[in-house]
Amino acid sequence: MTTPASLPDIDYAGVAPVLIILGAACIGVLLEAFVPRSQRWAVQVVLSLLAIVVAAIALGAYLYTGPQNTSTFAGSIALDRPALFLWGTLLALGLGSILLIADRVVEPGGAFVAQAGIRPGTMLDKEQANRSSMQTEVFPLALFSLAGMMIFCSANDLLSMFVALEVLSLPLYLMCGLARRRRLLSQEAAVKYFLLGAFASAFFLYGVALLYGYANSVKLADIANAAGGTNRSDALLFLGMGLLLIGLLFKGSVGPFHTWTPDVYQGAPTPMTAFMGACTKVAAFGAILRVLMVAFGSTHWEWQTIMWVVAGISMLLGAILGITQTDVKRMIAYSSVAHAGFLLVGVLALDGSGIRATLFYLISYGFTTIAAFGVVSLVRDGTGESTSLSSWAGLGKRSPLLAGIFTFLLLALAGIPLTSGFVSKFVVFAAGMSAGITPLVVLGLIASTIAAFFYLRVIVLMYFSEPAADGPTVTLPGMYTTAAITLGTLVTLLLGVYPSFMLDWAGTGGFVV
């Protein structure tokens, strides 16, 4: 009667990076159960870093043997060049984030709470704030999230994409609420992110359902075929696409779906903010790029104008709202909204140069963000990080090196030449120009000028203001944070001065169908 199910072909070498990260996460969970508490931190750090390095080696080996530009797991996972590039990006940025998470010097015991179960504000909580341990489950959670991101941007059907979306989001919701200081703010951020994330996921899922109804398949390629090949009413297609996009744009914090970004960025522990700012952006835009190009590329005449408007709104919202922010983390959050708009310009070019530009933008922006948040975590006062802009006044006098690095990173975010920010904006806008999105490019240039204002404001504050008497101090970073900041800054510089090799890597191929 029943035919025995035959497993689909699996290209183990190809998906090895993902499997390694997932496996390491599971091992990490087991270690939590068996390793004595005092050794867990060290073991988890080693495991996480090792997993990322091994995954990167596996990726390198696969790339070396010549990838086939195929998909595996019955077409669920694409192994094309953009996916592999994004994996590399995510692994590199994940490494930086894990380094930030692992630091226990800047904040004694780490940025994460020792025991999340203790109610904030109680005597116990005050006591544990000074204890030098942390909730080491953060490491496997981060790895799960990282794996989810990798799958998210290589998923070739909407069902895998949805599960990956949840796999990447759920640990993030959790980790957002685990800050050691200002725990109520952190928990509030987590709940907000969770509720809004669930809201967005619901849209996404509804979209998937409608698209299945339209194409009788959740595969991106089938949707494209259905859109191209039939004369049935495509109300379902566009309805489903709209709902799907809400979920995706939410993750990429593209305005007007960005509202969670500032609150969550501010409340989350700073290493987590860095992780979200860098990696989630990569994953989300990887997925947006794939969905728009593979599934909806054939119908782009119908929707591209609307997406231009979305990109424009995002740029302007981010740039304008950033002006009045008084908190560094919120400011970078709004800047990320503006950057999401710039990224969409590259996506909307909808051609090879657009893919290349977007991928390059993602990696350069990710490294800059990680380094920037690394710096943010170093400026502290008695109650923890001092993210209020007014307390950054005169930092240039107190700590010239740190202020210099932060200035450089801000200039990169503003897109000043010789930083990766300039090259990435240039390639993205160039791709947009050659695809004929001139108005959007002009708007982008104007928005980046407005945005330059609030980066500049921080620089002015740091150099041209007198430091406040009881202002924050700059903590000497430990090995891990130093490594993360150095990595981010050097890549920002390298990609600004010699971007060709990265652009080459980013542009070697399109999506597999």
């Binding site: 199910a5 689909p8 203790i118 959670l141 796999v167 759920l170 049935r232 309805l239």
Partner: protein, 283 residues
């Protein structure tokens, strides 16, 4: 597309029911009622699935959603306190109006879009005899086939989701017991109570019906003195001076029925001292 009469009857009963359930969930004030309304919706949906030749899905819907998840919901609600519900006063101007308008708008868009596209679609249907019908492998086998071939990866990936959820619950709820100053477990509580040799038993109730109607009335010991432990610490309406006066009164006029006829040794002060036991009770 042909719809049999029975299917139509089922739909016209279940459809309004599920809609009513959903609306009821939204508008009922008590969280428990909301949960129960939701059960109605899910049950109706489960039956609808079955009517549409998806018995497995229908059963899963009922077992997992109605049976497991909703019951968990109810447990949590009961644990958290049936009465603890958020304030329903809306402080944001225009929030409700806009939310209603936009909600209706979205529903309108979706309904319009779906309605538009329904006309010229040939349903794939699940009653394909070769697949699901009596001749084919059947509903369950087909789902299994799909899960382990086409959707193998997302299916396996859900395990990551489950692990994350489990860890999350533990991280957020679990605190170490042996930590200094950490929460005590019940056995330790009992041991401590006896070791400290204060009051192993329950605290006395207040003297409500002895002399007054108020719970703020302290109980009287057999000797006529006041049992201070009988006053709940959370009742702050009783002024300390009042207790002092009462105490003084009791001291001067020993109760006729008292066994000793004398005031008890004043071993504690006028204010109520928190003993570990009374703290335990107030929690």
């Amino acid at each position: 597309m042909t719809v049999s009469v029975y299917e139509e009857i089922a739909f016209w009963i279940l459809g309004p029911l599920s809609l009513a359930g959903a609306l009821g969930m939204l508008f009922s004030r008590s969280a428990v009622h909301s949960a129960l309304w939701l059960v109605l919706t899910m049950l109706s949906l489960g039956v609808l699935y079955m009517v549409q030749d998806a018995p497995f899905l229908g059963i899963v819907q009922i077992i997992v959603y109605t049976g497991a998840i909703m019951m968990l919901f109810l447990f949590v609600l009961m644990l958290a306190g049936r009465e603890s519900s958020d304030s329903v006063v809306e402080v944001l101007r225009g929030q409700r109006i806009w939310a209603s308008l936009l909600g209706i708008g979205l529903a309108g868009l979706v309904v319009a879009g779906v309605a538009r596209s329904l006309g010229d679609v040939t349903p794939a249907g699940l009653d394909n005899p070769a697949a699901n019908g009596s001749g084919g492998p059947g509903n369950v086998a087909n789902i299994g086939q799909s899960l382990f071939t086409r959707y193998l990866f997302p299916f396996e990936l859900t395990s990551a989701l489950l692990i994350t959820a489990a860890i999350g619950a533990m991280v957020l709820a679990y605190t170490r017991k042996q930590a200094k100053g950490g929460k005590n477990r019940q056995r330790e509580m009992v041991n401590m109570r006896f070791r400290e040799n204060t009051r192993p038993g329950a605290l006395p109730g207040p003297g409500v019906f002895a002399t007054a109607d108020s719970v703020a009335t302290p109980a009287l010991l057999p000797d006529g003195s006041i049992a201070k432990e009988s006053l709940s610490r959370i009742i702050e309406t009783t002024p300390v001076t009042q207790i002092e006066e009462d105490e003084a009164l009791a001291d001067r006029h020993p109760d006729a029925h008292a066994l000793t006829g004398a005031a008890r040794d004043g071993d504690d002060g006028a204010s109520i001292v928190a003993s570990p036991a009374s703290e335990e009770r107030s929690e």
